[in-house]
Symmetry: C2
Subunit: 349 residues, 2 copies
């Protein structure tokens, strides 16, 4: 159990988590969308199970290693939203596909052929979504013709079953997705799933006809980026960092024991400078981070925190913060006070 | 053992580590400086032991948790370069002081009194350095009088032994340190140690008379910040990230499987934009990071890496990178190929 005086540590309000889960699930249910919960935000099987219990169709992992942790904990419908490439990875994927219903994405022949070889050798199958680049230019094919070519190849290759299309994030203009769907159908294949994602704009997914599945992660905790996006209010943010003031080096300054190793160096978005929101001192600004020190400007605070005082921070980016810590302290009526391991932390492979 | 095809992972050239250790040790030996090796960069007891074997007087940890890992591995002279505050932390510190020679820093009465209470109750002792703020405004007292007051208090309190002064980083103008030393000596106390730190500027420490001890961490691995500082060349950087190209979404772009969860979001310094140096493709730029994706601009490369190709990245900030990974793959003639656990990773408390 985490000692409340032994900062910095993460605290999760499970009641708020349940409310965040219920709200997004209700939205998806109301609009006939399959909700696929991205575990990157929490990396905790206990939270993933609550998302499934509320009605999620399955989970999303970014890396095979995250999926292995989740499958070992009983999660059995997993989309891996990252090109799985290389003999080591495809072998692990085949082992995973023997235990769980697995969907993969592909945007190149190289990825498709590697997946097929490993899956067919293990006599297992995975669904394939063809990844379409609708503007982020991170992964994905850029033309309907390329999407159709890969769909046909996926359909033909052993160990693979073509199931539909994928993009990230869901674009305001889904032109490429519509054109890719038509091209794939023209080639004689059915497009069962069209998977879009991203918590920002999630509640507008129903306006984007053709999307059948919504991948969302950040909504479960919320963070300063979600506040900037308008998705969640500060009160609805369920993940908090508890940190102690260790020095007041000069008037107007305070230093806390949470630095980039606790909060990440990830910036917020929009007009939100700094590295987090100090709940008890909203006029304070976290102006810089060392690895272990948070540098606060408290010059606008009516009263400033004293050395030894513990304060609460809403971080810029919950997913990155989860990845830095081994465990979270869980509170709320929905569960007894407990420490949960962040079991998929650090699973970058 | 890490599968070389299963990227991303960290690789450390132990021969280069030994050369980096030897060079800094030689500098300190030549100038009569005690070298105190900061473990934050590697967080690995095996590397700390090599630093001690080469002649380091002891190690530096930022947090008590790091010190606990190092003490358990046999490192027995530890400076904790962070204000230790709160009952949970001071209790742990007292346990540590029963096993190792411990030095702490203090910049307030609150810190001194908490340390003294816990150490005296456990009938153990720690050396105290008074932390002086020479310009970073992160921790430290700002006047010679305040330094002397704390020195006298430390001298008087049970469980503490005043030993000298501390600052970070070593300032170009050490005026406050000199004045603080005179004030402390005027109060009748001896200043045995004056501890300065930081790899940038480390090789100029001897110009700053009065400094007796140099705390350095980054020099052991090197990184893009060290290259910008002129401390190390790219060839001398011993920590590398191995990552695979997973997509070429359009001409001029490549995406690798190392994002902010592998490389950190920490910026480089000076005129060095981007998130790392691609060794095999020096004209490539890592222009942005998602959590798991590195976004490369390869438009200036004569030939660009293909999907499935593995490349090597020198990260911006080695310390942050070590903190994200559970282990490193060690190479070099100085040790058999091995996987070493990053034992103090995530020790933020």
């Amino acid at each position: 159990v985490i000692d409340a005086a032994d900062t910095p540590y993460l605290e999760v309000d499970l009641d708020q988590v349940e409310r965040n889960i219920a709200r997004m699930q209700r939205y998806c249910d109301d609009h006939g969308l399959a909700l696929r919960a991205h575990v990157k935000t929490h990396k905790i099987p206990e939270v993933a199970r609550r998302q499934i219990a509320a009605g999620a169709a399955g989970i999303v992992c970014q890396k095979v290693g995250e999926a292995e942790v989740m499958a070992a904990a009983g999660l059995d419908d997993i989309l891996i939203a990252f090109p799985v490439i290389g003999a080591a990875k495809t072998r692990r994927l085949a082992n995973l596909a023997a235990r769980a219903r697995v969907t993969v994405i592909a945007d190149s022949h190289a990825v498709l052929r590697g997946l097929s070889a490993a899956l067919a050798a293990a006599e297992v199958e995975a669904q394939v979504l063809v990844d379409c680049d609708t503007g982020l230019h991170r992964t994905g094919v850029g033309t309907p013709e390329a999407a159709a070519t890969l769909a046909v190849e996926a359909h033909a290759l052993p160990g693979l079953r073509f199931a539909g299309l994928f993009t990230h994030p869901t674009p305001a203009d889904a032109g490429l997705l519509h054109a890719a769907r038509r091209a794939v159908e023209h080639a004689g294949l059915a497009v069962e799933r069209v998977s879009g994602g991203g918590t920002p704009g999630a509640y507008a997914t129903h306006l984007n006809r053709g999307i059948t599945e919504l991948r969302v992660g950040s909504y479960v905790y919320g963070d300063r980026r979600c506040i900037a996006d308008g998705t969640l209010s500060a009160e609805e943010c369920a993940l908090r960092v508890r940190t102690t003031v260790v020095s007041r080096p000069r008037p107007g300054s305070a230093t806390v024991d949470a630095g980039s190793k606790t909060l990440t160096s990830d910036p917020a978005r929009g007009e939100h400078p700094g590295f987090g929101l100090v709940v008890e001192y909203p006029a304070a600004r976290i102006v810089a981070l060392s690895e272990e020190h948070g540098h606060l400007d408290v010059s606008r605070c009516e009263s400033a925190p004293a050395v030894g005082e513990t304060v609460t921070v809403i971080p810029n980016h919950a997913c990155g913060v989860s990845n830095l810590h081994d465990s979270v302290h869980v509170t709320g009526a929905a569960a007894p006070e407990a420490t949960w391991a962040i079991a998929a932390r650090g699973a970058v492979r």
